[in-house]
Homo-oligomer: 593 residues x 2
């Protein structure tokens, strides 16, 4: 396998031939996926950095990689020994891509990006940024990877499967009818759906093209009278073909989406410029209604069967987690356990549960200092043994046919420092404040975010990631449109949405703490001030009470914790062996008020 420096050399030959000053590699695919099929991991191939977010830029003489705080430590490690300079996003003094390219390439240069793997808006912003900095122009129709990436993984051709109506709760044709109604409300005649999870949700189909994400590579073009799925037909069994026909969905080959857009006959089409890639966006000749894809909101508000499925998935996940937690501390004390070995143990316990399909993301098992690396993923090189002391941060989840789970627990493997206990308790306060809050309909997650942070801010602590994200229904573990985070996200929280609650603190070189449940947005009460909403924890797993400094918690916070533990015990215990139930009773013992 060629080294990063050999790859850079081959790329630079291409750049010289094409008279380009630089090439820009974002982290995405033609569908603006957060996690992509291997075929599109070009940024990882050219840089060696494997995080889920980042932009690599290579000039004839230099290279740089931009990523966010979740990956600062990992990127530093992985870029070591290469010529890549790490550019820390949102850190003072970090240049924008445009500023840096202008400095490196000089005014008037031409640089390039593959317009197929960047959203229309991100390319438009990049064009403006480059123009501002020295009048640099951007070419968007060049993909050097097609020529230089030896052994590039092919486009995925995994088969597509029907997702049972028993779990989906609403048929494909009913969903398409609701989408068309929403489009009419926005005065749009049709839409191009490019987000893979939106397509999977709409069609009640699932795939396995992206690691941990049960989606399949395709586009869906909906007009007022027709719906066409653009997909490599080898992925469709005759059963799926028959199903699609019955649901009123036509099929065309994946590459024909450009032709489909050209032949689209209606007056206008809705495109989400934050999702549709630049190249396809530029194909459209009719009027464009620029708006967020209406499918995001439809998909995020779960129906009754989906909510029942979540509860069932959480029950199974809770059973696996209790078995794991009961096993963990004695196993660590016995010796021989590592970050990887306990991750595998947990995965194997989940795999024994009914309807288990896969993990929902790669398990983050970070022991002590590794817990401070926000998106740490243990590998055979980084794996370390667990000792009966300190914190293990464990963020994990699974895909079951009836629901997707996402949970983080920070577990005391033995004695802790006072600082560890204090930080743990403050993070827990933040977690509980989100669990307890109530809010009027129309409130967005940005408005609630501070409730998770205030106890930490009071002590000069903070975390730079979001507090919560939506979770799909046997779909992607991250979904929008809503989030709980400091940055403004206007989408309000709506009853039926799922959202995680995961504050944390990361002290570099020392330890990390994060405590996460997945919550359901539920109605609360209706007053003269309108409808109010609240959260309900879907996750069923004890929160380690060993690290808690009880007098830092308020009466209502301890009451919430005790009530939650009672609920976890009552729900799980009848599904457990008696020794497991005894362990759980102890783990769920109430704190004194």
């Amino acid at each position: 396998m060629a080294s990063v420096s050999e790859r850079l050399a081959i790329l630079r030959e291409e750049l010289r031939r094409e008279r380009l000053g630089a090439f820009i590699f974002p982290t995405s695919d033609p569908h603006n996926s957060e996690y992509t099929a291997d075929h599109w991991k070009g940024r990882e191939w050219i840089s060696g950095f494997n995080g889920s977010a980042g932009t690599a830029v290579v000039t004839l003489t230099s290279a740089a990689l931009w990523t966010d705080s979740r990956y600062f430590i990992a990127a530093e490690e992985q870029l070591k020994g290469t010529e890549y300079q790490l550019m820390k996003l949102k850190v003072e003094g970090t240049p924008t891509v445009g500023e840096w390219i202008s400095r490196e390439c000089g005014a008037g240069a031409e640089v390039a990006i593959d317009g197929m793997v960047s959203s229309a808006n991100s390319v438009k912003e990049l064009i403006a940024d480059l123009r501002r900095h020295g009048g640099i122009t951007l070419r968007t129709n060049f993909d050097p990877l097609a020529r230089i990436w030896q052994g590039r993984p092919p486009l995925p051709s995994n088969p597509v499967e029907i997702h049972s109506l028993a779990y989906a709760g609403e048929s494909c044709h009913e969903k398409i009818a609701r989408i068309r109604k929403t489009l009419r409300d926005e005065h749009a005649d049709g839409m191009l759906m490019t987000a893979l999870d939106d397509i999977a949700w709409t069609l009640n189909l699932r795939g396995s093209d992206v690691h941990c994400n049960p989606v399949f590579v395709s586009y869906l073009l909906i007009s007022s009278t027709s719906a066409t799925l653009y997909i490599n037909k080898v992925k469709l069994t005759s059963e799926v073909e028959t199903y699609l026909k019955a649901e009123g969905v036509g099929v065309a080959s994946y590459e024909d989406v450009k032709k489909g857009l050209k032949d689209y006959f209606e007056y206008n089409i809705l495109l989400d410029p934050d999702e549709v890639n630049y190249t396809l966006y530029k194909q459209v000749s009719c009027e464009i209604v620029e708006a967020e894809s209406p499918v995001k909101l439809l998909k995020a508000v779960k129906n009754e069967q989906e909510i029942a499925g979540f509860r069932s998935a959480m029950l199974k996940d809770g059973i696996a987690l209790v078995k794991f937690l009961k096993w963990l501390r004695p196993a660590v004390e016995a010796g021989g356990q590592t970050e990887l070995s306990v991750s595998e143990k947990l995965a194997s316990l989940r795999a024994q549960q009914p309807l288990f399909c896969d993990l929902s993301f790669d398990t983050i098992a970070g022991y002590e200092a590794h817990g401070a690396i926000v998106h740490y993923e243990a590998t055979s090189e980084t794996d370390i043994p667990l000792k009966p002391e300190g914190f293990l941060l464990l963020d994990s989840g699974a895909q079951y046919l009836d629901g997707t789970t996402d949970i983080t627990r920070t577990i005391a493997l033995g004695p802790l420092t006072e600082e560890q206990k204090r930080v743990y308790t403050l993070v827990l306060k933040g977690h509980i404040q989100i669990e307890l809050c109530k809010f009027p309909a129309g409130t967005s997650g940005t408005q609630l975010d501070v409730l998770a942070r205030q106890a930490l801010w009071r002590e000069g602590l903070n975390y730079l990631h979001g507090t919560g994200h939506g979770v799909g229904s046997y779909l992607n573990v991250h979904e929008g449109p809503h989030q709980i985070r400091m940055e403004w996200r206007p989408a309000p929280l709506v009853a039926g949405m799922t959202v995680t609650d995961e504050p944390g603190i990361y002290l570099e070189g020392r330890f990390g703490v994060r405590i996460e449940n997945t919550l359901l947005v539920a109605p609360c009460c209706k007053t003269e001030f309108g409808q109010f909403l609240q959260f309900e924890s879907l996750t069923l797993c004890p929160i380690d009470t060993a690290p808690i400094i009880a007098n830092l918690l308020s009466f209502e916070e301890i009451t919430w914790l005790n009530d939650y533990h009672q609920y976890v015990f009552d729900t799980l215990s009848s599904h457990l062996a008696s020794d497991e139930a005894v362990w759980l009773r102890d783990a769920c013992a109430p704190l004194a008020l």
Copy 2:
């Protein structure tokens, strides 16, 4: 004086002559002022509604007035008996101005607005809204008021005064140099300043053209080498003329601003399209840099002298308030007091303080049900006697040469209901949570807003106004760019800013509660997570403890209240007569923990 219906009849003659379907009256002036000189109170003249926010639209056969929740009750009262239909903003089913005009006038109509009294952005949005709804076109160069408003107040010609450097803390030419530096950072060669408080701040001048706002009607055009004040020269004494010359500011007549813009010779000019009126915006022929006026932020961050001035003004205000509060309950018990009489008493006590200039806004003294009218202003028609029971909501402030104050107290005049005590305590919790919070530099008020609301939301209560606004330094009582409110306002809170903390609850027909201090943003600590900020209360006045249900407050909330009261007592007592100090000691007595 002509009645509203007579005025409408005259206006409609004008509309017919000009072949217009409707005329739109916003609430503003050529300077986008929140409060305007009487000359520009056209919306009030045509509708009879005197609130500080609203839009009247008159067609040939109908009339409507849009306003926000603060004014629903007042507008309902004031529009009674006229043909105006009240349009409640942010209430489901309320049409936009465009929708309503389209319905009333039919497709293809032409309607008009005076482009001089609406910001460029608001007119652009209106044009788009009208186009969407039936292709209605908007004329912007027509002001019927110039012809039909008999007895229209003239343009104000009050004299301008120099605001001493001892209070301003930074000279005019230093401020202009800082503005030019900021403009260079934004790649702008100059700017047109139209906001009256920005001009007063920049020039260290004050006026009296707008009720309670010490500003003067003018424009200020700054280029890279010159600064020109457009003003009715009769307002300038020879002392002010000499001063302006010395500070490097030229003077031209108010009407010549259009010519000034035409003659402006640089490559580009910064205009804030949310502030500059549409007519002037359209005069500009050079490149426009559209950005928020940089003066907003410069003005909002107070310097040391301004902060010292605030402390001095708050001390005087506190002394006046203590004298007032000591007098109030016995006076009400003795009988004969009304909302108006106590407002006058408070104003007279403030007027006895050194450097007092004026009130900073019309006092809101709302007894019981009147307290639920958010922007209630007692008049001889609405004034009611105060009884020794229930709540008096008192929102008031003053202009001193060294600072501006804004404070709300809700005072128990005698026995209260349990509901009153409960609501009061919950509002106080919200108030204290803002007082107590800490936050990293870069945090905006929107991110903190929920801290004031969470205790209320938990009980299904809410208030629809903002939680806080900036306060000028002997300037407007409302200033930006920062706010604390549910709606997204990106401007971060910066050390040196003032901001109010004023949650409330309004139960229509029953009572209202609001508790407001003016706070200073101050540095807190610097940690590995960056600089943290906190608030410091500038306001010096006891918070009525009689209504408090102590067991609804947390330990830290009671501690804050006791500490605040100790601070108020320690700061004020030596400035009081001994009987006043005794009263204050009782008012500041700590609650049991």
